[in-house]
């Protein structure tokens, strides 16, 4: 009986072998091939050139993941405290933005963040830009004074004629795009884990003398770790590898891994072998990160989503 039911997985196992394992295997083969088809390690040899891109991508993705956690955890926690009426729609409310295609949402951010965009228009109207210029002027004077007085060499060349704040085409905008797009993936698993927490555990902790903060630190947070871990995975992985966000909000100034890979396959520097090698290395690094993190959190097979 038990074995018979296990056969139900059969079709999907075959499917996975064909469309998950075989393709990955192909990437591995490509990564070790030269353009002519022979075995080579050249593709990996080039990797050192792209080290900077790796570091940058992981850095931005880490920052984005951290911010998502910082926003997503409290949000999930607060949502879990709401009444049942809200809980019925909570999940959809979080997922609804995803129904607007993510390119569109990102594009909307472009309209907001551009130099002539809505935010700058707003800042201009309210006088925040002028205020910024004013402050920069003060700072320049202050620094100049200090430089004279103490012989320092502080920056005195802050722009005092700004017409806008530079927001788009910066790493900050890219991180914002990542946070915006992947925040739901952080909230959903954490929310569902907190929802399932046994309420009597919280009472027990309070009963033993723990203050609200301590209950959170010692009981709620450790118990919601599985959700946090899958949230981190589900934000970090797409962040590391995005290319559309960096292009739309980053202006293509600083390549991310996703851009680099996309370039090799569909972009301006066709080199499928190199692209495969970069993909492979990226995947391995990500997997190692996730593995270490899961060990660290004792998450084991606790991948949770809902």
């Amino acid at each position: 009986m038990k074995n018979r039911l296990s056969l139900l997985a059969g079709p999907y196992v075959v499917w996975m072998a064909l469309f998950v394992v075989a393709p990955i295997f192909l990437v591995v083969i490509y990564a070790f091939s030269s353009a002519g088809g022979g075995f080579t390690l050249d593709n990996f040899a080039k990797m050192s050139t792209y080290w900077v891109v790796f570091v940058r991508s992981f850095e931005l993705a880490l920052i984005a993941t951290f911010i998502c956690l910082l926003i997503g955890y409290p949000l999930a926690y607060i949502m879990a405290k709401e009444g049942p009426g809200f809980q019925r729609i909570a999940m959809v409310l979080i997922m609804l933005p995803m129904w607007m295609n993510f390119l569109l949402r990102t594009y909307a951010w472009m309209s907001i963040l551009e130099n002539t965009g809505l935010l700058n228009q707003f800042f201009q109207a309210v006088g925040i830009i002028d205020l910024g210029n004013l402050i920069n002027g003060w700072l320049n004077n202050l620094c100049a004074g200090l430089n004279d007085l103490l012989g320092l060499s502080l920056n005195t060349a802050r722009d005092t004629n700004m017409e806008y704040f530079k927001m788009i085409n910066t790493s900050g905008a890219v991180v914002l795009g990542m946070v915006y797009n992947y925040l739901p993936f952080m909230v959903l698993p954490i929310y569902s884990v907190i929802m399932k927490l046994d309420h009597s555990l919280l009472e027990a902790a309070r009963d033993l003398g723990a203050s609200t903060g301590r209950v959170f630190r010692k009981v709620i947070f450790p118990l919601s770790l599985p959700g946090v871990l899958s949230g981190i995975t589900m934000v970090f992985v797409p962040s590391v590898s995005t290319f559309a966000i960096s292009r739309l909000l980053g202006g293509g100034n600083e390549l991310l891994l996703g851009d680099l890979i996309e370039r090799q396959f569909l972009g301006s520097a066709y080199n499928a072998q190199l692209g495969s090698a970069i993909s492979l290395v990226m995947m391995l690094v990500v997997l190692i990160c996730m593995y270490v993190m899961n060990r660290f959190g004792e998450g084991e097979e606790q991948a949770v989503m809902l």
């Binding site: 139900l8 499917w15 490509y30 607060i78 129904w99 295609n101 594009y107 929802m195 993909s279 989503m305």
Partner: protein
């Protein structure tokens, strides 16, 4: 979690939801803008909606998107549910590695998945072509010898990245289910097939529905994997939009989003009202 949230909590929640929804409302507002501008309001118009329905490229990509999402969601839901039940009933020795493989599409970057599937399809097409050539030559058949990326490959890709989410949503429900329920059903005369339909499926239904919702969302939202697997003659809405983001996005696309958003919102309200009704009815029956 019965503690009520404080005003500060509510404020925070409000801000985050504002952050999530503001860009979307922006899109909606500018779908009524009487100009192509994305940032300057120049009066109200419905022209974009009219144009939208005349734009065959967008309409056909909407159609493709919905078609691939629906089929992929259905297939992924069925396959994922069966797979989850299968995994659940497997020995740990088999289950653990299979679940790891199941997680690969989620753990590996979209782009890697798109690329690997693309390479795989092209390689497979090469093999098919050679085989067809050989058959044509030896048996005189008239099989096509060239194959291209297109709707079928797009569909396969969507199914492949959707199914893991369904598995992930269904597994916990199986774990929560009382193991004896199946035995009870068998004991009452069910064959294991009947037990499956009459007990297991209804029990894990919430998980299946959740998985389905996620799968559908992922399908609609996906761009990267579609981009690599749809080929040149099939285009999802995301791909059309991507094509446009490289030039200028027509407010027609804003109109599409608005329509989508409103549809979902209406569905949401209907479902919610119905559930609230049911909950009320249940409560009434209890007391």
């Amino acid at each position: 979690m019965k503690q009520r949230s404080s005003i500060l909590d509510r404020l925070f929640m409000g801000l985050v939801f504002f952050f999530l929804y503001a860009p979307i409302f922006l899109l909606i507002i500018f779908s009524f803008n009487d100009s192509k501008s994305r940032t300057v309001w120049q009066g109200f118009t419905l022209d974009w909606y009219v144009e939208l329905f005349q734009d065959s490229a967008i309409m056909s990509s909407i159609y493709t998107t919905l078609l691939v999402s629906v089929i992929a969601t259905v297939v992924a839901t069925v396959a994922g549910t069966f797979a989850a039940i299968g995994f659940y009933n497997m020995r740990r020795r088999w289950r653990n590695p299979l679940i790891t493989i199941n997680n690969i599409p989620m753990m590996s970057a979209e782009i890697v998945m798109g690329v690997s599937l693309c390479l795989f399809f092209v390689a497979a097409f090469g093999l098919f072509g050679t085989a067809a050539q050989w058959l044509n030559n030896t048996l005189g058949t008239n099989l096509p010898t060239r194959y291209y990326l297109g709707f079928p490959t797009l569909l396969i890709a969507h199914i492949t990245f959707n199914t893991p989410y369904v598995v992930l949503a269904v597994m916990p429900k199986l774990q929560q289910m009382d193991k004896h329920l199946v035995e009870a059903a068998q004991d009452l005369g069910c064959t294991w097939r009947q037990a499956f339909w009459k007990v297991i499926i209804p029990e894990i239904k919430p998980g299946i529905v959740n998985g389905m919702l996620i799968a559908f969302t992922m399908s609609v939202d996906d761009f990267v994997i579609s981009y690599f697997t749809a080929g040149s003659s099939t285009s999802t809405l995301a791909m059309t939009i991507y094509g446009m983001t490289k030039k200028r996005i027509s407010p027609k696309i804003n109109a599409v989003s608005t329509l989508l958003f409103v549809t979902v919102l209406i569905l949401l309200v209907i479902v919610n009202v119905r559930e609230a009704h049911q909950a009320k009815a249940k409560n009434a029956a209890r007391s």
